[in-house]
Amino acid sequence: MFPNKATVEALEDAAHMAEVQGRSLWGDARERFFKNRAAVVSLVVLICIAAFGFLGEFVAQWERDFVDFSLMGANATQGVPSFETGHYFGTDASGRDLFARVVQGTRISLMVGVVGALVAVVVGTLYGATAGYFGGRIDGIMMRTVDVLMSIPFMFVLILMLVIFGRSLFMLFLGIGLISWLDMARIARGQTLTIKNKEFVEVAFATGVHPLKIILRHIVPNLLGIVIVYATLLVPSMIIFESFISFLGLGVQEPNTSLGALISEGNKNVGNGTPWQLAFPLFFFVITIFAFFFVGDGLRDALDPKDR
């Protein structure tokens, strides 16, 4: 479900290599990234999808929750995608405009992905950097805790949480964030261990800078490259994860929707003569995830010249 241990370890190596590269790292990386055609195309696609999700509302002819009672239950014949009616993507079984709903679904799915990744990045980086910086017993306790948490089947716990506390976007973010920071913490710690022996950290320490400040000012910025790569790979996992939650009926509340919820609903009606209900959301879902994968791979390759 999440970027696996292999990726995690590859990333640890990658950032290590990158560190050796010195100052020209970012410039080199940018150059390498833009030479990767798949990654660049994907980046453009991603920008388009984001624009669709955030600006598509202005193109839509209908409100996403407006029910056209004359189309309700008749969408197989009258809710067909059409430019004339303004229902570009057709309507769903309740007579609502699918275009407006796909726009919102895309937005929510992107948000779930990005916010989930953000939680993972912030919590994981700080946790990992702290553990790595202090080392010794603190490190031992903090990382054992991560090991313990990693053995918990979080998917099950998250299902329980959503069932018990009711579904909401907040709960979803919280649950996803809770699971995803663990790997990030491990990566960040590994990196911190190599960084903390560098001269600039030692100098800062010798001049009596507060540890918290050292972590935030000197260590975290140097983790940034690897963190960005990992986060990019985490986003599609989050989106897939959310779709699974939606399939179980535990996703966002009506009238809001997500790509996962739309796919799940379209899937139910696939035999009922409304293939567009599945096709459009699935298209955006697949394209988004493809694009994130390729951008993530491109970033990793750019920061890790060893694969070339």
Partner: protein, 307 residues
């Protein structure tokens, strides 16, 4: 090594305890009990039921009784929802099912995934490579809850080759679709990991040396490149295994195979505390066990790692 294993197992105990307490507290905090129904039960009836399942006792006593029952007698208690059965019955019935199709999915995912990845890496940038990458990315993106009903439509309704669901004691016909649905996305991940790992290995000095010495390519791959290639794949097997157990939720719901995934989802919705606890503990223990096995495998393959 032995000391390492013992240490890991020792950590497992508090982990499980945390898991038990966490899920117990979660459920205790939940609104709605297992015996709510459309028709609220008369107080006398409710009192009888709560007394029968020990729910009238204070919280700490319930949890102590539970842990003692599990530890001393391996008894996970009665199911609150399926009143004719105990949690042990349910796990004894559902777990072998999940394990069987999980095992075959695992075999298929690793077998096909590694072959695809190796083939793609050897013929890098050929049509085979593009095909393999295309298949694996495609398989990873298509949610299995979309794929699974599609399989039923194709193989049962149109082609009439396979039964549309059920377990039937584990007949192979009943297993084909669950295994396809469960293995595809893992197969895809494994193929991608194998490909990039193999590419990396092929660029290392010892492989170049082997090639320079004039060893046939086949021998280079099998004898020298494959073993180091498998390292990242093996580390992926832990999460993959857990994913398959979790993925059984979709398989059970679509193919009605009767595995633990279905029991878990149902019991979460029904507040069947004891079944949730039983399955969570089971899956938690398996996760710990499997992560340990993976680490041992890892050490066995990579002599650089010391514990």
């Amino acid at each position: 090594m032995t000391a390492y294993i013992i240490r890991r197992l020792a950590v497992a105990i508090p982990t499980l305890l945390i898991l038990v307490i966490l899920s117990f507290v979660l459920m205790y905090a939940a609104p709605g009990g297992p015996f709510n129904s459309e028709r609220p039960l008369p107080p006398a009836v409710l009192a009888n039921i709560e007394a029968k399942y020990g729910l009238d006792q204070p919280f700490w006593k319930q949890i102590v009784n539970y842990v003692v029952g599990v530890v001393t007698q391996f008894d996970f208690g009665p199911s609150f929802q399926y009143k004719d059965r105990s949690v042990n019955d349910i796990i004894a019935q559902g777990f072998p099912v999940t394990l069987t199709y999980g095992f075959w999915s695992f075999v298929v995912a690793v077998g096909v995934g590694v072959s695809l990845g190796v083939a793609a890496a050897i013929k890098q940038n050929s049509w085979l490579d593009y095909l393999a990458v295309g298949i694996s990315v495609g398989a990873q993106v298509l949610p299995n809850f979309v794929l699974a009903p599609l399989l039923v439509i194709v193989f049962t309704l149109w082609l009439d080759w396979l039964p549309g669901g059920g377990w039937n004691g584990g007949a192979w016909q009943n297993m084909v679709m669950p295994v396809i649905a469960l293995s595809t996305s893992y197969m895809a991940s494994i193929a991608r990991i194998t490909r990039s790992s193999m590419l990396e290995v092929l660029n290392t000095n010892f492989i170049r040396t082997a090639k320079a010495k004039g060893l046939p390519m086949r021998r280079v791959i099998w004898k020298h490149a494959l073993k180091p290639t498998m390292l990242p794949v093996i580390s992926y097997l832990g999460p993959a295994f857990v994913g398959m157990i979790t993925g059984s939720v979709v398989v059970d719901l679509i193919f009605s195979t009767g595995g633990i995934g279905q029991f878990f989802v149902n019991s979460a919705f029904n507040r069947d505390y004891s079944v949730i606890m039983g399955i969570t503990i089971l899956v938690g223990s398996l996760t710990i066990l499997f992560n340990l096995v993976v680490d041992i495998l890892y050490a066995w393959i990579d002599p650089k790692i010391r514990y």
